[in-house]
Symmetry: C2
Subunit: 446 residues, 2 copies
């Protein structure tokens, strides 16, 4: 992609309405544009990053055997009346009347709809366990939307639903997702910590939030720092390993302010291991047994032919929110460096501009074509402006690798720079092989 062709409305001003750094950066680099309060359009740069996040989330769901489907955004109020949540769910639910006066709503979550689908499709324990997921837009009519995509009205979310015959079986599904979520965040370049959490309007008595640390986070975190040292690679998807993993994580103290108890914290965590900081929720999982299956009469024949309510859990990852959260975790001192797995481009070529000498630009075009032919997704900055402006701009756009074509480069050697590191002179063949190595990282598949 040539930068001059990319639809990327950069702005130099710091937008007044943006209070946190992710919101500021996303507006400054033309990733999003607000269309009305708390509702955003995703412009090409932002959308490309979100799609990469979505694809990693999807792949990790597929790995644990979850099946993708898609529920609609608009739901009938009927099923929410069945579950009893229609009145409970406050004004944050966007309620709609269609032209025939029927009560509809824009789904803020999908427990009712998936239960309705399941009860009409599955009748026997033989079809269990089941794990279904979708990635769909949701709506929450926030009274005071703020912080850009971190707390907006229309947001993109992956939600999975598990169906099991017994509480015991259901816990296995819960552990599988627990592990899968940690893997997902790891691939996204984030260190997320599971913390015991309240269940709120979803319900149930078992729940974990996945939190990444960030100074601007909305949650206060109280944790034993040893929880950050648990190595996920020590576990796998076998039942015993998953059980051990859950124990290892939950044996170490880590809670948000909802569940915080000062006495407990001081008792359980030695002084030198105490961490008190802030964090951002990027995922939330719930086990609620028959909270929906009972009122909605979602029954399964067990091994003895007896009808029993199916046991359910739900599991969410905020895909659009993760774009903002990744910025909060990685953007410092006017430099944003996207994790390689979700970077908008693998590398950017930055040629020096000189009216009397088009040599650098010509050279840049040549290596651009060469890299494209190697399936490296590269951006060419063909905009006529000073090098210092270019560098400032690319510090914000955040493509992790730069190839600088200017006075220092000769024949086939160029400055090669990883953001936040020093540049080095490298032969083009070496640059190519470095970038190709990155390209072999787990990436989007079909």
């Amino acid at each position: 992609m040539h930068l001059s062709k990319l639809f990327i409305p950069l702005t130099k001003d710091l937008p007044a309405e943006a209070k946190i750094k992710s919101h500021q950066l996303m507006l400054r680099t033309g990733m999003i544009k607000q269309s009305s309060a708390g509702i955003y359009s995703w412009l090409p740069l932002g959308y490309k990053i979100m799609k990469k996040i979505e694809q990693i989330v999807r792949e990790e769901q597929d790995i644990i055997g979850a099946q993708e489907m898609l529920m609609p955004t608009i739901q009938s109020a009927e099923i929410w009346k069945e579950s009893g949540r229609y009145n409970d769910y406050g004004e944050e639910m966007l309620r709609i009347k269609d032209r025939q006066g029927r009560e509809m709503l824009y789904g803020p979550t999908n427990e009712e709809l998936i239960t309705d689908i399941f009860r009409s499709s599955v009748k026997s324990y033989k079809s269990l366990p089941q794990l279904l997921y979708h990635i769909q837009w949701k709506f929450r009519d926030e009274i005071r939307p703020r912080f850009g995509v971190m707390r907006c009205k229309e947001f993109y979310m992956k939600d999975s639903y598990s169906f099991d015959l017994s509480d015991e079986e259901a816990k296995k599904s819960y552990n599988k997702i627990f592990y899968s979520y940690l893997k997902t965040f790891q691939r996204l370049g984030l260190k997320a910590i599971p913390m015991s959490a309240d269940t709120g309007p979803i319900g149930g008595d078992l729940s974990h939030e996945f939190i990444i640390l960030a100074e601007t986070g909305e949650s206060q975190i109280f944790a034993d720092k040893r929880i950050f040292e648990i190595n996920l690679n020590n576990y796998d998807l076998t039942e015993g390993s998953l059980k051990k993993m859950r124990e290892d994580f939950t044996n170490i103290y880590a809670v948000t302010d909802d569940k915080y108890n000062e006495k407990e914290f001081k008792e359980k965590v030695s002084k030198e291991n105490q961490i008190i900081t802030k964090g951002i929720e990027v995922g939330h999982i719930f086990y609620f047994g028959d909270k929906y299956s009972k009122p909605m009469n979602c029954l399964i024949d067990d091994k003895n032919g007896k009808k029993t309510t199916v046991k359910m859990g739900s599991y969410g990852i905020g895909v659009s929110r993760l774009v903002g959260a990744t910025i909060e975790a990685n953007y410092n001192n006017e430099v944003m460096k996207w994790p390689k797995s979700i970077a908008p481009f693998d590398a950017v070529i930055i040629p020096s501009f000189n009216k009397n000498n088009q040599e650098y630009l010509k050279k840049a075009h040549k290596i651009y074509e060469d890299l494209k032919n190697q399936n490296i997704d590269v951006l060419l900055d063909d905009v006529d402006e000073s090098m210092s402006n270019k560098f400032k701009k690319h510090d914000l756009i955040g493509v992790p690798y730069q190839i600088i074509v200017g006075s220092k480069s000769d024949n086939n050697n160029f400055e090669f720079k990883e953001l936040n590191s020093d540049s080095k002179m490298l032969n083009f063949e070496n640059i190519k092989s470095e970038l190709k190595k990155l390209n072999c990282l787990p990436k989007q598949k079909d």
Copy 2:
């Protein structure tokens, strides 16, 4: 994927509410489930097919340099008042009041929103032409939704928008999309014909519908049969070639009932070339110049520094509708064969079941693993039922290739069958290489 694990609620009954064959088939094979009138959930089989269609549509947009972005589903009424369409657009627009009483709506189309984004982002002719697209859910509050996904309320659509400095430049963008659409439908295994069309609520004076032939189509078609013989491979994306292509297509008579004129038809089309039949609209393109840019004040500096309204067109492909349309075009005599490019699986393995002899099933598992290792996306029918039931079922699911493991197979030779063709005995190595060949067709990429 093992069929016993796939969430695919098959039903043997012909659903009473389904009047056309795509609606019937989609319900019978568990591709969709109605959640309320005209609103559907997409279950794994249906969703997988729709995603493949979406990906082909996306790739063909990317090839012509269109940039992907995403606009939200919920829009503010303000911009629709600016363009003057808020009142014009009848009751099919789903109007919503948020908790603060603001007038919102669920977007049925996006001309206003994209114009709003464009006017705040682009100021100079130097940034033109631009071509932007998104693939997003839309809503039309149909008074009488019917025919399943063919005429539903919540539907998935790709819409592109072009921005040019002059009418003349804009026609070039129109031609580019025109060509790209024909390519897209070709890759989807459909023969779509462009027909001069009315512009309806979108506006403008130049418009084409892309129609595929199907007995159950909602449009009456009057065409010169020579239009079906134009070979798209004779053209390319160069300006002259695109101009010639437009002329070649538009010089041959082809209209829907909206534009039909009996006298003209008889004059222009010789008796033996006249085709009168029915068709389904799968795409619609519009050029409307400054219909939106003028009232919404979307201005560009031209080469002389003079402000001028940008010239716009919009271009839609109904992605969810294409799933139904493909069935209407391909499902006959109780056999549905999905085009290879969008088939839910590359092949299905059908072992014969025998309580006393698990040999076939074991063999089936073995070749399943082998094919998976070759990256062939294969379904294994491990459900215990008779072969005749299995065959009937797979005639509907529509996986194009079958590998039958039963009494006829010996050692390493199996029956290999393409739907709608006779089966042949083939050595497994040959089956593998046949399937790998198919796998080299243009497929989804990242």
